[in-house]
Amino acid sequence: MRDREFLLIFTSVILTLIFSNLSLFLKSLSSTPFATPEIKQAARQVKIEGFRKSEQDFWSKIKDIDFDRIPPKNATANLEKTPLPPKKSTKKPTAVKPKLTKPYRRFLFIGDSVMFDLGIQLQYTMKETYKIADTKIDYKVSSGLNRIDYYDWYARTKEIINDYQPDVVIVLFGGNDTQDITDYQGKSRVILTKEWQKAYQERVEKYAKLLNYSSVRKVYWVGQSNSNRSSYIKAFPIMNDIYKNASKVSRKIEFISTWDTFAEGGQFTPVVADKSGKRGYVKVNDGVHFTSHGAKIIGDLIVDKMAADKILKLPQVPQKKP
């Protein structure tokens, strides 16, 4: 008798909840295995508003905090110094002014949870070596350029670039994109088929164009590194080619290949030495996330590239007066 009464209350409560906020129910149901493509399609139309919207904004606020932001006075320490006034000379000053390069002040790291691990390492290296503190990681777990319905990276990237006004953006996607894709015609494409590659390329190119037409001055698109998982070994080279081709849309965007960083003779190697010669495991067991040692190696690769491109410069140590 008591069981029946409980069952009655239980089902009544569920039905009351479903009908009291049908749109919210639809939205949450769409992420379950029960959801048909029609339900998923309908859920995409539901806009998040009211309390949910405020709640998301609140979390974004927490996530968007500028970690370790150094006050503007110190922040310029790393920047390219304007040339010192010329020493007094008997010669007449020439008319030609020294060419001024606008310094690269702000760095934004965009991607999924893999970028979070890498971004932390980049922030650390850039602060320690180049005294750069104006950096930001904007990451979303389980996201990518495949499931834009889950997280719209186009909208988010526009928003964050407008708000933060970065000079340099470093992008890393792909860890969660190894799944079937729904193309712009609404058709589901099986992973790694030609149709899938075309659909994914469209997503990536759209993102690259977005970055190209933005105020960002330089973009580094970091490719996926070798893995111990066969599914990634199969998918990542294809995806890397797509990123590489998309990077060619603009001179502003540059692809950084990391595929061979964790490989010997084309095969994945779990233990790699960093610049100091210290050896360590580079990836965790899932085959996609870096260990802190692995993130350091990839981080150093990116930082070295930026230094070679003169985007990063070592801070000038003030010389002692004789």
Partner: protein, 471 residues
């Protein structure tokens, strides 16, 4: 399949409808319950299910040998080795491999080991503990050898398989085999489920965001932020795990099993000893009965007692996770318990009775000391490794970051709410039960819907997984 999901809702609705008419028909009830548990577990992975079935079958063969055969001791030891090896391979293998690599690396001996692609089966720590305790109980002839279906139902029992509470076989079998199942009160179950949902969905999910980054990159936060993050983690782990236990107990009640007390407002403890009587009670009792007492307990003098306490807690820490930080966490609690015992044993030995002039102040100080110790030790538990934990404490003492980032009234409110649950949780629960004991079913539905709706609205769009699913 997590508890607060649609998948589980549908699964449980079907299982409950199938099971409740069978409560009087014990044999049929057992079969349906066992099949439901296996189905539940198969949602994680068929490989995991296969491992569980094999481990259960092997353990049962060993149990039969222990109870009936000539080679009791051999069977018992082989059973223990099997279970420890099973846990060791799935949970600790890579830890030992990487530790060995680190040692060789320090000695500058070139070595490279392939990290094994092992994913620990869900709940492996919990069901292995149940298997071990059952084996010991049978070996010590505390319980007779059960029927296979009883044993399999006990090991695979779905509300408890993933994260406990760790039930005892004797109590489980007596309830399973009785046609008079636990006679729950509807309001009792509703309060348990509401409490579990509120703790997990609203409070734990909220705090999750304040602990993730500071526990990974403490060097990026100010001292006050790190203190708040440590406090948040203390609150988070309490609401997360006790919320899970509440849900598991609520579901168990509906299936006809008495709830197992697992948390009893632990942060009001005045000593570390009291804390472990209130925190994860089923594990504390398991460690006491199957580790501390077999090690000798307090039967072989004070020094041995202290050593046993230390070993029990350090092993308990290692059970939580394959990492040096977990061992340090356990060892710290072991040392803390030794100090607590010393504070009692030494005055007793010299016949000294401490007379507090200010008993209330002494209570407050004891509480503060215990809570601070527990909170600090959680830092080792929550950080990914030992080095990060050290950075965390360095940051608390001196941080180069001046910006106070966690100054949100919502955070203070959530901590205050958890404080209230911790100090007056029993009273709040009783009050809710009185409110929900309305005879009019319509008002009950309205009230419960209102509570659940509020919980869901206050919760985030993505609920993070239960912390204890990792262990």
């Amino acid at each position: 399949m997590l508890f607060p999901t649609y998948q589980f809702l549908v699964f449980f609705l079907i299982v409950f409808i199938a099971l409740f008419p069978l409560k009087q028909k014990v044999d049929l009830y057992k079969i349906v319950l066992l099949l439901s548990s296996l189905l539940f577990y198969s949602f994680w992975s068929f490989d995991f299910l296969l491992l569980l079935v094999l481990a259960t079958a092997y353990n049962y063969i060993i149990l039969r040998a222990v109870c009936n055969g000539k080679y009791q001791k051999f069977a018992f030891i082989s059973g223990l080795i099997f279970n420890i090896a099973n846990l060791g391979i799935f949970k600790y293998c890579n830890f030992f491999v990487t530790s060995l690599f680190e040692v060789l690396n320090q000695l500058q001996i070139p070595a490279s080991f392939q990290v094994l692609q092992i994913v620990a089966p869900v709940g492996v720590s919990f069901y292995t503990f149940r298997m071990i305790s059952h084996l010991i109980d049978c070996y010590q002839q505390k319980i007779p050898c059960p029927k296979f279906i009883d044993y399999a139902t006990y090991i695979t029992y779905f509300p408890q398989i993933a994260s406990g509470p760790i039930s005892r076989s004797r109590e489980f079998y007596s309830q399973l085999n009785s046609p008079q199942k636990y006679d729950y009160q509807i309001e009792e179950v509703i309060v348990l489920i509401l409490s579990g949902l509120f703790k997990k969905y609203t409070l734990s999910s909220f705090l999750f965001n304040f602990t993730q980054l500071p526990f990974k990159v403490p060097q990026q936060y100010s001292s006050i932020d790190l203190i708040l993050a440590a406090l948040s983690y203390s609150c988070l782990i309490y609401v997360d795990f006790s919320g899970y236990s509440d849900l598991a107990n609520g579901i168990s009640c509906l299936l006809g099993f008495k709830p197992i007390p697992n948390f009893n407002m632990p942060y009001q403890s005045l000593s570390l000893q009291e804390f472990w009587k209130r925190w994860h009670i089923s594990l504390s009792e398991w460690l006491r009965d199957y580790l501390y007492i077999p090690l000798g307990g307090n039967k072989h003098g004070k020094l041995r007692k202290y050593l046993n306490l230390f070993l029990t807690m350090a092993i308990g820490g290692f059970w939580h996770g394959a990492g040096l930080n977990f061992i340090v966490w356990g060892a710290l609690h072991g040392l803390g318990l030794i100090v607590t015992h010393l504070c009692r044993d030494i005055p007793q030995a010299i016949h000294f009775k401490l007379d507090y002039s200010f008993p209330r102040l002494a209570k407050v100080m004891n509480w503060l000391l215990t809570f601070s110790f527990v909170t600090c030790s959680w830092v080792f538990f929550g950080t990914p490794n030992w080095e990060t934990a050290v950075l965390f404490f360095q940051g608390i003492i001196h941080s180069g970051v001046p910006t106070f980032q966690f100054n949100f009234w919502q955070l203070y409110l959530v901590i205050a709410v958890i404080g209230a649950i911790n100090f007056w949780g029993d009273r709040i629960s009783q009050l809710l039960q009185v409110m929900l004991s309305l005879k009019n079913i319509f008002f009950r539905v309205v009230l419960v819907s209102l509570f659940v709706y509020t919980i869901l609205m206050l919760g985030p769009s993505t609920v993070p997984p239960f912390i204890y699913f990792n262990f």
